[in-house]
Amino acid sequence: MTIPLMLYVVWMGLMGKVPRLPILNETVRNLYFHVPMWFGMIFLFGASVWFSIQYLRTGNLENDTKAGSYVEIGTVFGILGLVTGMLWAKFTWGEYWSNDPKQNASAVGMMIYFGYLLLRGSLGNERDRARISSVYSIFAFSILVPLIYVLPRFTDSLHPGNGGNPGFNPYDQARYMRPVFYPAVLGWTLIGFWIGDLVIRYKTLIFKRLENVK
């Protein structure tokens, strides 16, 4: 049981090294760090929602541990995405925060998930915590999706590819960048799930020890 799991983890760790390939461009390099963060975040939150639904269906507390851990890691990814984006924005748009609809939406997303973590922290009883936070998580995610994917379409964004800005499209994104970009997305996402997996196993261990003590 442990051997395939460890192999899995090692494979993920190796995959995670791929995006660190240095490409000697200027701020474009942020594409390998900033953009995959959002992919990773949304995949992690998606996984969390999946496990929340599973918890509500089965009532298995393991599913709730998974849901909670993936949100924790996803929030870290979101913060990193915001910070890398803000640093990049300082050098390209001139301001750390320039009221860009995507920036605002991701900040709101962070607020939603800080609320989720607060809600989890404020509940002592495991069953209550699992049930209530699952309900909130599903509700919040389905509001987050229109916020991130629909709202920015209605307004011009400063982001590359929007409102006449050059950038994120097949012509500008040169051929030599794509082989790094897609593995970067995959690699960061897998790193996220790998850390999430570690957190889950750690929590499960603590849970089991507590059971034994009882």
Binding site: M111, L118, D128, Y136, F139, S142, I143, P146, L151
Partner: protein, 223 residues
């Protein structure tokens, strides 16, 4: 028929209680009135002019903050004493539906009052009344859908006053942003053609939230 009559009796119970005690109505009236008066005083003292766009933002801010007053207390009773009684008598999805409708009515009251008060203190800049009314209705639907479930969550968590704003604010921002875009259309009477994409998006967002609270509330209720 049975479901409908249950729903109706739940709803009429809430409304009757409100008619007897009039606590929430009085709270809303006072809150909106004092908020609008404070805004008036602040703008007057600051010698700031209120143009239609500022009026619009102020209007939605008043509605937003009073909506937390509207939904804040509504589940505390249900979860306290009457909980066990309800648990055996009523289906959970009917309970949330009646609460949604009740909040929708109270939010309507709030928004119309804010409109009246803000128009009294400042001028009424709304040119397309029909479109603005539609914006108000869609906003009340969205606010009621988003906040009813969150209110139930925070009531279940037992920390109603602190958790509700923290969980609620981020969730109503999408609705609020679309509503403001829509109501700017109504202020300038830009016509329904331009507003149509916003109306459709807002209506579908409302539908998503209502459907989700309908599906999710029974799980919350069960424990």
């Amino acid at each position: 028929m049975n479901t409908l009559s249950t729903l109706f009796s739940l709803l009429s119970k809430d409304i009757k209680v409100e008619f007897r005690q009039r606590i929430l109505t009085a709270t809303i009236l006072l809150f909106v009135a004092s908020a609008c008066f404070t805004i008036y005083q602040v703008f007057f003292a600051g010698r700031a002019r209120v143009n239609p766009l500022v009026w619009n933002s102020l209007f939605w801010l008043v509605v937003l903050f009073s909506s937390f007053q509207v939904v804040g207390k509504s589940f505390s009773k249900e979860l306290d004493q009457q909980f066990w009684y309800y648990f055996f008598v009523v289906r959970a999805d009917l309970l949330i539906l009646s609460k949604l409708i009740y909040h929708f009515i109270m939010l309507n009251l709030t928004s119309w009052l804010s409109w009246i008060f803000l128009s009294v203190f400042f001028q009424n800049p709304v040119q397309d009344v029909g479109l603005f009314t539609l914006a108000i209705e869609l906003a009340c639907l969205g606010l009621s859908a988003a906040l009813t479930l969150v209110s139930a969550i925070s009531a279940k968590a037992g920390k109603n006053s602190t958790l509700l704003p923290v969980l609620g604010f981020p969730l109503i921002i999408p609705t609020l942003l679309f509503v403001i875009k829509l109501s700017i259309n109504a202020l300038d009477a830009l016509g329904w053609d331009l507003a149509l994409p916003h109306i459709i998006t807002l209506a579908s967002l409302d539908c998503i939230m209502i459907a989700l609270s309908f599906i999710l509330f029974p799980y919350l209720w069960r424990g």
